[in-house]
């Protein structure tokens, strides 16, 4: 081990936390290195000093305080909803998020079939752009088809 590496091992050495061969290496180094010996001694003195901190005395009302916390209703009760209720709520939300655009898309398709894509686009698409629940893929499809028709092409799927 280099001297630098030895230095970094000194705390662990002093705590008896080094593997036997590492400890032996540190010991051998210490025998010949005065500055490392001084380093170990100062670290030991520091450890000892911190270890002399007294155990703080327990406040007399400690156990009473524990009980009053236990009896106090939790302010974050909703968090403790039983797991199945949480799962049901999540599933319901997912269903709503999927179903609303699906139903709306279906209605849009019926309306587009009824009035023709060109009129549908002119009348409904601008309003649809601001609607978060609209089926955008369908609007894009209809507008592309209307554009193709303007160019004299056959819309997709009409063959």
């Amino acid at each position: 081990m280099s001297t630098h590496r030895i230095e970094r091992q000194l705390s662990a050495y002093l705590d008896g936390e080094l593997a036997a061969e590492d400890a032996a290496e540190v010991r051998a180094h210490l025998a010949g290195c005065e500055s490392c010996r001084a380093e170990v001694e100062s670290l030991r003195a520091t450890k000892t000093l911190v270890g002399r901190l007294a155990q703080p005395s327990l406040p007399a009302d400690f156990a009473a305080g524990v009980w009053s916390r236990i009896e106090r209703p939790s302010p974050r009760r909703w968090f403790w909803w039983p797991r199945p209720a949480m799962a049901m709520a999540a599933v319901a939300l997912a269903v709503i998020l999927v179903a609303v655009p699906l139903v709306r898309g279906h209605l849009d398709r019926l309306r587009a079939a009824e009035v023709g894509p060109d009129l549908f686009l002119r009348a409904y698409a601008p309003a649809a752009a601001a609607d978060p629940f609209v089926d955008r893929a369908f609007i894009t499809l209809v507008s592309t088809d209307a554009g193709l028709r303007l160019l004299g092409e056959e819309p997709r799927g009409s063959r």
Binding site: A45, T46, K47, A54, P56, F62, V66, W80
Partner: protein, 195 residues
């Protein structure tokens, strides 16, 4: 199930309540001491250590009677302290207004290091306060390692498991912390040598 969380005293049988009270009596000094040395003031120390026992209460039926709880409580109180630091990054770093109330050495702690025995007698209130202040000036990561290793006397492996870090990290943090503490405590060591 619902009764095991947040439920009051009547959620358990009288025997279970008695068992819980016994756990509080047995471990509270120890848990409070760790919390106190980490947080540095009575209010936070009480908060942290009492909350740790609320966690025990909620899990009481899952705890085997007679199972040693020290390790678990130590981990809870350490994690609660980490949570506290997250919620309140600027924890009170000034030391206590009052010198710490201690049991003036009537309860010697068990130490893993026999070298400490020589000078086990506790510091007087003024010195205690200065050492605590030096502890509080360390970053929380370093402070926790010093409290667990040098105040409470735990092995590196235990500290690593409590803090959820590798042993190598414990080793390097403790070394760094001790070197910092050594500089800050130099005047105190000087005074102690002279007296």
């Amino acid at each position: 199930m619902a009764q095991s969380r947040g439920g009051g005293r009547d959620s358990y049988t009288p025997d279970e309540v008695a068992r819980f009270e016994e756990l509080v009596a047995r471990y509270s000094r120890h848990v409070y001491a760790i919390a106190y040395r980490m947080a540095g003031n009575e209010a936070d120390a009480k908060d942290l250590s009492q909350e740790a026992f609320v966690r025990v209460w909620r899990a009481l039926r899952r705890i085997e009677p007679g199972a040693p709880l020290e390790g678990w409580l130590r981990r809870i109180v350490t994690n609660l302290y980490i949570d506290l630091l997250r919620r309140r990054p600027k924890v009170r770093l000034e030391s206590l207004d009052e010198p710490v109330a201690t049991d003036s050495g009537e309860m010697p702690r068990e130490r893993s290091d026999p070298n400490v025995d020589v000078e086990r007698k506790v510091l007087d209130a003024g010195m205690d306060r200065r050492v605590q202040q030096a502890l509080l000036e360390l970053s929380a990561d370093l402070r926790m390692v010093v409290v667990l290793a040098d105040v409470e006397g735990y092995a590196y492996e235990e500290i690593a498991s409590v803090m959820g870090v590798p042993i190598g990290t414990v080793k390097s943090r403790l070394h760094r912390a001790r070197r910092t503490m050594r500089e800050r405590l130099a005047p105190i060591r000087q005074e102690l040598r002279q007296s």
